[in-house]
Subunit: 460 residues, 2 copies
């Protein structure tokens, strides 16, 4: 087998159109399509309309379809030769809020390139990566007048607010969205120069624990020592979630955990990862977590139980001698295959009940759940992606995991019964969701070439 | 020894002047002398001036002496027969803020009597109890033209904001304030009809614990499992403060605890106290704390370690998947004789250091401290008080403790080297510091008679 290559005609087109491609992306990034803010509803709609027009201009049939929230832009091109596969490309045109604004070096919605980084809200998450796909499609259509695969583009406007309306949308349009593979670029590469395929995501079970003691706040002098302190009771409950080895001490918690394949773990250990650099990045002197696991294993392959928030009593300046009537913790578990958030909810609640001391009443509410996900990495779309990434980046991709959750991945897989390829062009430290978000201009360029080559490699 | 009696001439004077006594107290209570609020500085000063005039009118030599904050009204009457003791009466003319105003049945500064209770901010804390003393003094001077003891009245205007300037004031005027006993009425009786002498106060060591982990908040998915969670670390630290029997597990914490005399504990156990009623009052189904101690022993004679406040990460509505960079707890220890806040600070800090896990940095700040206090209850002023209370209330007083702290008590004792008699006429549920504060009209009347009799009994 010869080494895969980017088609020189496509390569030439990308080079010749580089300025325009960037200019158009700048236009897209200037639209403050902040889905979380109703005062930006007009902008969010404008981003959908802009994308609609651009997809139509390159030769797609486009509809902007309503949901209960922001609409989905659905682009279709179905003129591939008989027998060619159909691919669904998913991305999102909405962005996170930009606050705190004063921490941006240049304005969030005024794209600027410095030192090979394109700074703007949405640059990497996800307008820039969505644009990678649109321009890869345009390259084929401009150079050859055709595409090697049938392509469906689904661009939603609610990813940053939980994609609540997307699973219903996929289910409603399941026949129309039927495909051989789903491709998503909304993640990062392991490191500069190392193309990456994302093979797993952790799930989530997010709880709020409320401890109620006396019917109101009491004077800690007059009542302290005889009345159970809800803050202390909460601390006790939280302290029972881990054992001394950093494992989660909730009965049955690990029962459904399916170990990652030995080959995946072995490959993970070969990744150029440095605990020292990681500690420096995070700003800590020592790491923690489950003993006997490497840092990447802890982050990608093992479940967690974390405090996300604590609130009780007096939290202002100085001393107030209150015995608080209430204490609250937000606690979430990251899950790995095949843990089920509904089962974890049951085990979590049973555990809290078991360790709650007399004298307080505890309620646990399950606020949010999402299933973990893991790709098989077998099959033509994954093979094609490996070759395409090698062609564009000059080296084989690595297989990486992700500690966070992207619930829509599981939705696509479950509803459409198609494998999902997650291939992203972000980089560590790219500040998604933070001030000074950026995408590497080099990754953006190589990404377009990789995706254009993916369709050639995947056509079968 | 015959049963002590209130002098019938004094008794008649109190009865004949009852309406005027109440009217004057109403005037005092109408002045919103809220020391914490600078916009009420004029009112606070007006209360001092009003009191100054009233003390002068009954025959005292009065000065209003400046401090760094609100002034001290100092009244003196030193014409007792040679050999008579000198007594310092302490009270305060400032009051707590009245908010939340909408929870008052009648306005906070418009005194109203309903069902034998006089409602107003300051009614029991402490204007009403200070007025008990002023009118007891007036009774003697009006009926007999003299007093059996020399009397110094010290009324401050900063008790509700920490009495910061009082200890320096006492020290500066130590010679002038020299006395044989200090008498304070700013506390409560054990129950209706049961006159009480307060024999102990707990001290305080108040800390703020700050746990610092990563240099900023992190995404709990991307980092959770490998980075030590400051919220979890804080919960672990807090969970180590008690052992399974509810004792404080800080090394050396109990070393200086001097057990309460067996007689005091025995007397405590005879007090008509009901755990069932206490639980109902507090609104809990079960009590907690140190095993092997009664509720009153836990509240009055044993030290505590309590959470006063907790704050970390996201505490708003819903789910936010943050691994917080920081976690904070306010934790305070109530102390009993002879625990020293400075020593407890050292032990507390050493304990926190010992139990802090790697991966986080913890700082402990000592915000506020106060020594515990315990009276010997031996000596003429205590004997006189017992007789005077019996005379006014028809039964022997009980000896009670108090779980809270009144730092000025220790200051008087230490600086003036005089015993302090704490005899209060409040009642449980009197809502000091809360809406609908009240004093029992019957207690107010009996209080004046008890204090007037105290001078007769104490004259020696």
């Amino acid at each position: 087998m010869t080494a895969p290559k980017v088609d020189p005609a496509l390569e030439r087109w990308f080079a010749e159109n580089d300025t325009r491609i960037h200019d158009e992306l700048f236009e897209f990034l200037r639209i403050p399509s902040i889905s979380a803010r109703s005062e930006h509803n007009g902008d969010t709609r404008a981003a959908a309309d802009w994308l609609h027009k651009k997809l139509a201009a390159i030769g797609f049939t486009v509809e902007t379809l309503p949901t209960k929230g922001h609409p989905v832009v659905l682009g279709e091109w179905r003129k591939a030769p008989a027998g060619a596969p159909t691919v669904l490309v998913y991305g999102h045109y909405d962005v996170q809020p930009a606050e705190p604004l004063d921490l941006w070096t240049t304005p969030a919605f005024e794209p600027t390139i410095r030192d090979g980084k394109l700074f703007a809200r949405g640059s990497v998450d996800d307008k820039g990566q969505l644009w990678v796909h649109v321009k890869a499609l345009e390259a084929h259509l401009a150079v050859r007048g055709t595409l090697p695969c049938n392509i469906i583009v689904v661009a939603e406007g609610e990813e940053e607010i939980g994609s609540e309306n997307l699973a219903p949308f996929i289910a409603e349009h399941a026949n129309r969205l039927a495909c051989d593979a789903v491709v998503i670029s909304d993640s990062s590469m392991f490191a500069p120069g190392i193309p990456s395929i994302l093979s797993s995501l952790r799930g989530l079970a997010y709880f709020e624990i409320n401890v109620a003691g006396p019917s109101g706040d009491l004077h800690s002098g007059m009542y302290g020592g005889a009345v159970v302190n809800p803050g202390m009771a909460l601390a006790h409950i939280l302290s029972t979630f881990h054992d001394k080895r950093g494992r989660i001490a909730i009965k049955g918690f690990y029962d459904k955990v399916r170990p990652f394949p030995a080959a995946v773990r072995k490959a993970m250990r070969k990744l150029p990862f440095s605990d020292t650099r990681f500690k420096k990045e995070v700003g800590v002197k020592a790491l923690g977590g489950e003993s006997g696991q490497t840092t990447l294993e802890k982050l990608w392959t093992r479940p967690t139980c974390e405090v996300n928030g604590l609130l009780s009593g007096y939290t202002g300046e100085g001393a107030k001698t209150v015995l608080p009537g209430r204490a609250m913790a937000k606690v979430s578990c990251r899950l790995v295959p095949d843990q089920d958030p509904a089962v974890i909810e049951r085990l979590f609640k049973a555990h809290v009940k078991r360790v709650t001391p007399p004298g307080v009443t505890v309620t646990v509410e399950h606020l949010h759940g999402g299933r973990p996900w893991r790709a098989d990495l077998d099959g033509p779309v994954f093979d094609a992606a490996k070759r395409a990434l090698r062609a564009a980046f000059g080296r084989d991709p690595v297989i990486v995991g992700e500690g966070g959750s992207i619930p829509v991945v599981g939705d696509f897989e479950r509803i459409l019964k198609a494998p999902v390829l997650l291939v992203g062009f972000g980089l560590p430290g790219e500040n998604a969701h933070a001030p000074d978000e950026w995408i590497s201009v080099d990754n953006f360029r190589r990404g377009m070439r990789a995706i254009a080559t993916l369709w050639d490699e995947y056509k079968g």
